[in-house]
Amino acid sequence: MESKDYLKDLSEIKDIMHKSTRFMSLSGLSGILAGIFSLIGAWRVHDIIYATETPSKDAYKSIVIYELEMLQIVAIAIIVIILSMLAGIYFSWRKARKHNEKLWDAASKRLLINFLIPLVTGGFFILFLIEKEIYAFVAPLTLVFYGLACVNASKYTLGYTRYLGITMIIIGLLSVYYLGYGLYFWAFGFGVCHIVYGLLMYFKFDKS
């Protein structure tokens, strides 16, 4: 054997270690469904917030959201999150079963924990803002923290999660700059981008 072969051995070892520690069964379909749920949720919230007001650059300074409306919005958000999570679990479970893998193993545990750290941080951050009645930053921050969570989780899975995360962060930052149109950026990020990346992942990794 020559040293070239030893080098190939080492790089192959590294490759296999890398691949084998990633959760493979994340399904593109769950991204598509999460996007659809998000769009429906955003549309419902839009009807609540803009029933009496029109969206504009400065509306967020004067907009009044009543307690009942806020409760409805939070309820819609919770429903969207739960439905998206159920879709994520169901389709990953289905894909894992097809590939004879376990859904709950070391790789998926690592993935989930690293996804949840930025996400739960953001969740509390946003809940405290809502409690202080600072609503304008809610939509941008959900985008930014979710994006960071995706980037962090992407080290433990395959696919486009990293690019989805970076896209979300950029949309989140843009929506801080264009404050007042947060809901539209939110719908674009969580709705449209989820569907687009979900489709990309579905056709690249799932269909076989």
Binding site: Y6, D9, I13, S20, N100, A106
Partner: protein
């Protein structure tokens, strides 16, 4: 010759190296996972697993998941140490050239 002799004969095949690589970074792996990761046939993988099992580098545990038999493999302490030594020897050889 002294460096070459440090290269472990048990790892003298890319499939065996592959099996050990997976089991170094994962607590467990089953047959199917190993097969998919290493892209080898059932018979090929089974024979290399047997070879590593024989020198006590990996451990085999049979269990049932949803009434289907499932075999989990893990690296033994001996196997982990041998693998580390083998990697060190490989790196040493490359640096020498």
């Amino acid at each position: 010759m002294s460096i070459l002799s440090k290269l472990n004969k048990a790892f003298d095949h890319r499939v065996r190296l592959g099996i050990m690589s997976v089991l170094m970074v994962n607590e467990y792996a089953d047959f199917r996972t190993l097969k998919d990761l290493l892209e080898v046939t059932d018979g090929n993988l089974a024979s290399h697993i047997k070879a590593l099992e024989k020198v006590d580098y990996i451990k085999v545990e049979k269990q049932f998941i949803a009434r289907k038999p499932n075999t989990q493999y893990s690296a033994t302490k001996l196997g982990q140490e041998a693998f580390k030594k083998h990697i060190d020897a490989l790196e040493h050889l490359i640096n020498k050239h």
